[in-house]
């Protein structure tokens, strides 16, 4: 199937497949898939269990270009086993990140320094619930491989995380997402560690009703994470808008792009811990309590207002580092 790049630009990011997202965010017709469906590298474990398999194992990875930058893309497909990661798709994700690092090192070797306008870029489009339980042990180990590589990419290769698809970035993918230099989301974006059902089971339905969509949205959703400073860009839901946001930042020096990192230094440990202490001290019970602390008056309206309105009135957690 031939993908029409121009048509993709106005398409809803939320409704797009993993392959469409990968393809549409890069410069026109530059995306080349690694270990694509034609290679038929399926999960041997799903097969043994008699489950359906996909030829790409539910992930699209590859390399393309944005301006002069080689861009390494991981795009998860939430429609296949919840986008969850196992041995094959997990290896595809972790090794794509590794290839970005290898490319940086090769450029450094060749040119001495890596110019700002040519440095490799890493983009992960999240749509996953975390570890694929059918092959849980391999999935767990894969997450650590990704985390170590993301740590290695720091101050070398910008790692841009995106959430705005059906599943969000959940389970262990939640922290893989927030380890990024920059996090971009549309209003469908969600980031969390524990799924709603498990929280309900743990704290009781009175405190957390997993069927209450508004509650889930304001707890894990993009607007709350934007107020907290976990999401850096809250944007409109088209592939073209995501692409434009990325295109506008890639030529910036690494030191500037990494200013929005959320983790990775003793200073950030202390800064994040302050929020934890504040939450305990003020005995917050709901996201709205935290929104109020950061200066938002109209907390009941925040979920309902248009994105434009929200962005014009919202007060965010001030950052020190």
């Amino acid at each position: 199937m031939k993908i029409n790049w121009d048509d993709l630009q106005s398409k809803s990011f939320y409704q797009a497949t993993a392959r469409e997202r990968a393809y549409g965010m890069l410069d026109k017709d530059t995306f080349k898939e690694l270990l694509g469906p034609r290679d038929k590298m399926t999960s041997p474990h799903l097969l043994i269990l008699g489950e359906a398999v996909e030829f790409d194992d539910g992930i699209t990875v590859g390399i393309g270009k944005i301006k002069k930058h080689p861009v390494f893309v991981v795009s998860q497909e939430g429609k296949f086993v919840g986008g969850a990661l196992g041995e094959v798709n997990g290896a595809k994700m972790a090794y794509t990140l590794k290839l970005a690092l290898k490319t940086y090192e090769k450029m450094k070797e060749k040119y001495g320094t890596v110019p700002d306008d040519r440095k490799p870029i890493c983009i992960v489009s999240f749509d996953s619930g975390g570890v694929r339980l059918h092959e849980a042990n391999a999935g767990l180990l894969m997450h650590s491989e990704s985390m170590e590589t993301i740590w290695e990419l720091q101050n070398k290769v910008p790692y841009i995380a995106i959430t705005g698809s059906t599943i969000g970035a959940y389970g262990a993918q939640g922290f893989v997402c927030l380890s990024a230099d920059v996090v971009i989301a549309n209003d469908f974006g969600r980031i969390g560690l524990t799924g709603p059902e498990v929280i309900q089971q743990e704290v009781g339905k009175d405190e957390f009703d997993a069927s209450d969509r508004a509650l889930i949205w304001r707890t894990m959703g993009a607007r709350s994470k934007y107020i907290l400073g976990d999401v850096d860009y809250l944007i409109k839901d088209t592939i073209g808008t995501f692409r434009d946001t990325i295109v506008n930042m890639v030529d910036e020096p690494m030191s500037k792009i990494s200013k929005t990192r959320k983790v990775g230094s003793p200073q950030l440990v202390e800064e994040n811990l302050e929020v934890v202490k504040l939450a305990a001290e003020k005995k917050i019970k709901d996201s709205k309590d935290l929104w109020k602390i950061y200066g938002n008056e109209n907390v009941d309206e925040i979920p309902e207002m248009s994105q434009e309105k929200f962005l014009s009135v919202v007060k965010r957690r001030p950052r020190r580092h």
Binding site: M41, L99, L133, A136, N137, V276, L290
Partner: protein, 291 residues
């Protein structure tokens, strides 16, 4: 005769480190806040006459501020206190040469990260990510990081507290150790695959089975420690090995990526290796136009 060390971290500390040398909340000149993260047991001790950092948790101490942090569950304060301990360790040895950095020993007995509402609002995710980055920072500085599973090493708890170590050791299942993402019974419910079938498949495929031995087959654990009495000697040996490999510049024989290679040698995660090899080949063909 020890049957299990689950919830008995203090006993494990006695067995592993030089007699009565563990000082809680002390690392070099840093004094960690004793009121922060009550379940966390961090500090320094001597092992074989050498000072080391100990990062462990005491399942008997809940966190009064966070109701879902009990019985060994690691919450946000816990993850950040572990991170502080890592950075305090790096700070304590900043003047020492790379091959003389103090070892860091992680004692692992956790059923997971805190699945609470407040944790989702504030960000358990960032806590666990911070700790993982801090472990890598310590490894980069030259500290040998050894993880030892004495009890439960479950899912996100194991991901943040242990999996990124240079070397991971584990007591076998006969001492009650539990290593998995979730029990096979829960996997059966969620995947809707009959438990009997899963139990049958476990015999030939370690990929979803619960237990340290299965993780060993996949390369998730470097070495099994036969008995609790052997833990001390196993840690001392691992510290020496890690130092020797670092000195020879063989960093690639340590840590999580190396365990992927080890797993393939033991017959597990073959497809992972195959996928990586194929991607590398495709990448090399594309490389000239990339740089």
């Amino acid at each position: 005769m020890i049957k299990s060390l689950i919830g008995k971290t203090d006993e494990a500390i006695q067995l592993i480190f030089d007699k009565d040398t563990f000082q809680e909340n002390v690392i070099g000149n840093t004094r960690l806040d004793k009121d922060l993260a009550p379940p966390v047991m961090v500090g320094q001790a001597m092992i074989d006459g050498e000072v080391c950092s100990v990062l462990a948790n005491n399942s008997k101490r809940p966190n009064p501020r966070f109701r879902v942090v009990y019985s060994g569950i690691l919450g946000m304060e816990e993850a950040y206190k572990f991170s502080q301990a890592m950075y305090a360790t790096i700070e304590a040895d900043k003047e020492r040469p790379k091959d003389k950095k103090r070892p860091i020993v992680l004692l692992i007995d956790t059923p997971g990260n805190s699945p609470g509402k407040i944790e989702e609002i504030v960000g358990m995710t960032k806590g666990t990510a911070s700790y993982q980055f801090a472990i890598e920072d310590a490894r980069l500085a030259g500290h040998p990081v050894i993880g030892l599973i004495i009890g439960r090493a479950v899912s996100g708890g194991f991901l943040c507290h242990g999996l990124l170590s240079d070397r991971i050791l584990a007591l076998p299942a006969e001492y009650g150790t539990i290593v998995h993402v979730m029990p096979t019974t829960s996997i059966a419910v969620i995947t809707k695959i009959p438990l009997e079938r899963l139990n049958e498949l476990v015999k030939t495929n370690p990929v979803f089975a619960s237990g340290a031995e299965y993780f060993y087959d996949l390369g998730g654990i470097d070495e099994m420690v036969k008995r609790p009495e052997d833990m001390r000697a196993a840690i001392i040996k691992s510290i020496k090995e890690v130092r020797a490999l670092r000195k020879q510049g063989k960093e690639d024989q340590l840590g999580i990526w190396h365990r992927g290679v080890v797993g393939a040698e033991r017959g597990g995660r073959q497809k992972r290796m195959e996928a990586i090899k194929k991607m590398q080949e495709e990448y090399e063909k594309m490389l000239p136009e990339l740089i």
